[in-house]
Symmetry: C3
């Protein structure tokens, strides 16, 4: 059914419109358009590739679990329950029609662009989504999904993924990663150590989780046992190919403590007698401890701060976490991250990648920090900012201070597997456009821009993530 | 005298310069250039349209009371007293000459652009303002103002205003609105409930004002009486066509309290025994109460936060409020507005429009909130940000997260009646340019952009403000 | 050896690429391209021009002491010690080769652009810097530096510097400035009063410094003596041509106190008994005192706030201050600067220039303040923001509210003498591009833009700095 939509397939999409800049950008983009995808941080479940089962339907593929999509439908008045296939006898087609009916709400959004890219790039569907076309598009996807080349492993290889990092619980046995490593998949899938629940006394099951951690590693219930357990699990991850440890925290606040005070706080937070300031200090100190472990074991440390999770208690109670109402807050790094950097910021092989949703930190704090500390790298624009204009704003905000070589390379950070190529392609196009403008304005010579373009999708992420 | 100034009348003014983008933008703009004006929030006094008297002179028309204009003259060294006609024998022509002498200071400002638009669009004057042309332009305006088609009601209809909301005191009898409703004016003029002075214990005459409120409604001096009085006055406003209640506050801070604690705080703030934290809690709780009333009676709730009023005590003492020295402060919504949203954020027919001058909240907080909560709408760029580049920054900051359909449509928020068409035209042009870029970059298909363009000046404000 | 690189010498570099805008921008830029340089704030040591000795080598010229350059090399993994000529037998050529090996890191940075401008503009070297060309470029610069026309005074006159302000300690006898004044140099070199170390109780040697100040002026150790000493030294500076007093502070926080409380705090901070809040109040009060002195003696007051100095204690201990790890922090002006403005903000001849690295303050606080208070001027984009995109963002953020005539004109604030022409040229180009867009978008008439362009490099800085 797909009628050609030459407009959408404009090979220059996302590039600056000015003909001079666009011509340069097209050449730069062409250098990397087909480069392998390096995805050193994200949330694709490894089981997807282990099991390699066909996607159930277009909704499972493009809607369910993609809280970028479901939140905007919710904002448009759709109850989240109405997006669950099987709920109240609802079938996938009905949910798909809901998406189509609200599709105008996605105009101009990153999610809208990605889904159109996926429909076209993966399925060759260029018909605009809408109430009249919903059923035909649904059927076309269903037909494709039945074919073996639309199974996850086939797509993984078709996407040209060289490395995909998942995000995993420290107690995960990583059996799925082991299975993938010996499965003949073209491309590495590596785990990422994500210990938040074991480090934050305010996490819902902190005490139980620490107990499980100590039990699993046979460690005594004291601070040294706790640190040893974390180190042991990191080693387990490294043994399964992990390159980084990730920290999702509300504020980038770090505290350096001596061993005795660390031990005292550990006892207090476990006993539930620590007050808010002590719990905050413990969290902040554990970031310093994780940095120490990174210095010791070489795992790249990534920090994703500044999000208040589960803003709507009612929604969280009904639908659980990651349902679209995590809302950013203002943060600051200069003072908050200083204790960590005072300890480890000058360590030669320590890599610390700092992400932010609060754009004010880009030019004010992150570029100056990454422009001095050899350990600090600028994380790619994250979450709500992983979108064309926001990516361009990020480059404009940091490059004049820190250049390109203090940035991390693109990070997709997604649980929407199908969107990975579209997201990386978006970043490549926006970076090509940004560089092309610098060339056209006489600020960067073309050969220098070409080297930067190549490195942004290759040497830079490989160096930052020690690949 | 007006010699043609073909440059200024460039039909593509404010649109992006790139020819490809401009061509698309011109087509999009043409769809809405003559659409009726919907102005759901502003400060035009209803008496202007009831009395329908000719403007006294060009100064009364364009300078007096427009603190956008007077503040920049003041910054340029002009004493505010020297802008008052009649003061020290000063006539309007002298003030007009002062404006002309300082006109270069307005180059690049929103006010400068609007006034040029008004001179041209309303009076057909395209001669540049300056010391040499001041008298001739003054005379030309004086001549026009004597004509019946330059009286306020004639201008109202010529401007194509479909709806104009005023901002009114809760105890206003709204007789002027009643008079307007039966006056045969083509277009609705509706009141807006603005209760700040009755809700803020730190307002200068809070106790007296509450007493007047209770007296006017015959209510007892207790919290239930106070809430009942507010509800009764809201009903009075609704009876006169009001669609919204507006709140101008220094910080978007809300507090949910039980009835007993609310009543206790009410007694304490009235008695003057409440400390700063209690007064803040009372203010924050009254926002939650106003949200509750909006859920009950359907008035759209609009919040204009983050301005420290009357920064210069000396100026306030000499010239009163609204004289150009209200200065914005940093704000945050994610935590501050959460108690209100926890109570009412998921209510189906509750509409909460959040404005901000602190641009940092756009991508960080407001777009994520409006991208999830069905009740939350992104207020149009406000006050100092109601200007071409700032409007474009706003769209770029929020659209990738929240799309177009979570925004309020343009709000002029002005007391400068003559500037209303220029302001709405500015927003239409900037939105057309923004959309045109998305089309030219292959991010939004043209038919989708056309629908957005139409809806931004029609269905969107009508839906948000329940018109 | 220099082969022509016509690309880099594009006369339209840094201007917008769109042909329509670029044509207007070129015309505007041409008006001011060769205008004299007014540099009312910077850090060039006067001894450079007094001694007028040849630069030792290319490293002394372009690397040593330019912490914009050394910090990015450091971030790239170079030990700062490895950039010191003479250290461990290292010669200048070795350091130059290090710069060349890391030159790709400077692509897109302000420093990278300036150095290319300097190589070309001062030495006629257009060969790209890199490992293969490092030696030849080094030799070419060495040859040039031996010539008399590459000595500092010759360069000063070749650069067309009309006025250069240095930054000096209040106890400096200013003999070098006196020598320069009578040396026949074409162009003024004036001192700037910078009293931070004498005003901040938390400065490392505060007590000793105050004692030296009182000793040098023969004043008693009390608050009146201290204020008198500062006034006396300001008079000394004015006698040597100073036009401004500069304040580098962590936060723009001001406090108005009566004389008794000021005196009490003075005794407490000198005795070391003041707590943190009292030390902060003293600092904040001394800014008000400095404003009072500016009202009295006419020195323009400039404030550079919001930088946490010496972020890396280890680096500071090894290499001292100004070594690339001063990191900005969030600041606010609206409340913090208010006490000062309540006292002196309406004084007719008081000039207060407010700088910021925290871009969030531009549209939110600084433009509204400068758009009302006749004393407040918008400082040019500072430090990390002294770069093409950042300068353009600044104009876009403030102009719609405050116009061009409330800004300070460009300030280079540099200790890198050779970069002065490149920096001023950058600002002129970016301003021309910004203005050209406003013209092309029909927002500013061409004659008005021409006047603004001329004034930005002439009348505006002359008026703001009372030249």
């Amino acid at each position: 059914m797909s009628t050609p939509d030459t407009f959408h397939r404009d090979p220059a999409r996302l590039l600056p419109v000015d003909p001079t800049v666009r011509a340069i950008a097209l050449d730069l983009y062409a250098r990397v358009a087909d480069a392998p995808i390096i995805s050193p941080h994200g949330h694709v479940p490894p089981s997807l590739l282990v099991n390699d089962e066909p996607y159930a339907d277009p909704v499972a593929l493009l809607v369910t679990g993609d809280h970028y999509v479901t939140r905007l439908l919710h904002a448009g008045g759709v109850d989240l329950a109405d997006l669950v296939v099987g709920e109240a006898g609802r079938d996938a087609r009905a949910v798909w029609r809901t998406l189509a009916a609200h599709w105008h709400r996605f105009a101009g959004t990153a999610s809208g662009y990605w889904i159109e890219e996926e429909l076209d790039g993966v399925f060759g569907i260029t018909t605009p989504l809408g109430p009249e076309t919903a059923d035909a598009i649904f059927d076309e996807i269903v037909t494709a999904l039945a074919r073996p080349d639309f199974r996850p492993r086939a797509l993984f290889e078709r996407f040209g993924i060289e490395l995909l990092a998942t995000t995993d619980d420290p107690l995960d046995d990583l059996a799925e990663h082991a299975a993938l490593a010996s499965s003949g998949l073209r491309g590495r899938v590596v785990p990422t150590f994500r210990p938040d629940r074991y480090l934050d006394p305010d996490a819902p099951a902190f005490g139980d989780d620490v107990e499980r951690l100590l039990g699993a590693t046979g460690r005594p219930t004291d601070f040294a046992g706790y640190l040893g357990a974390l180190e042991e699990r990191r080693a387990h991850f490294i043994g399964h190919g992990a390159v980084s440890a990730d920290h999702g925290i509300e504020e980038p606040f770090t505290v350096d403590l001596d061993a005795a005070e660390g031990a005292r706080l550990f006892r207090a937070v476990l006993a539930g007698t620590a007050d808010a300031a002590e719990r905050r200090a413990f969290r902040g100190h554990m970031l310093v401890q994780m940095a120490r472990m990174s210095v010791d074991d070489g795992l790249v440390m990534t920090i994703h701060p500044g999000v208040l999770r589960n803003h709507s208690t009612t929604t969280h109670a009904r639908f659980g976490p990651d349902t679209g109402h995590d809302i950013p807050v203002a943060i600051e790094f200069t003072r908050g991250i200083r204790p960590l950097l005072e300890r480890f910021g000058l360590e030669r092989d320590f890599h610390l990648v700092l992400f932010a949703i609060d754009e004010t930190t880009y030019s004010r704090e992150l570029a100056p920090l990454a422009g001095f500390y050899p350990s600090v790298y600028l994380g790619a624009p994250w979450w709500f900012l992983d979108a064309p204009d926001a990516i361009a704003r990020h480059r404009a905000a940091v490059t004049e201070t820190a250049g390109f070589y203090r940035s991390s390379g693109f990070i997709d950070d997604t649980r929407a597997f199908l969107s990975i190529p579209a997201r990386h392609d978006t970043a490549r196009r926006v970076d090509a456009g940004f560089l092309a403008r610098l060339v056209a304005e006489g600020r960067v010579r073309l050969p220098a821009a070409e080297r930067v373009m190549d490195d942004l999708v290759g040497d830079i992420p490989r160096a930052v993530f020690k690949l």
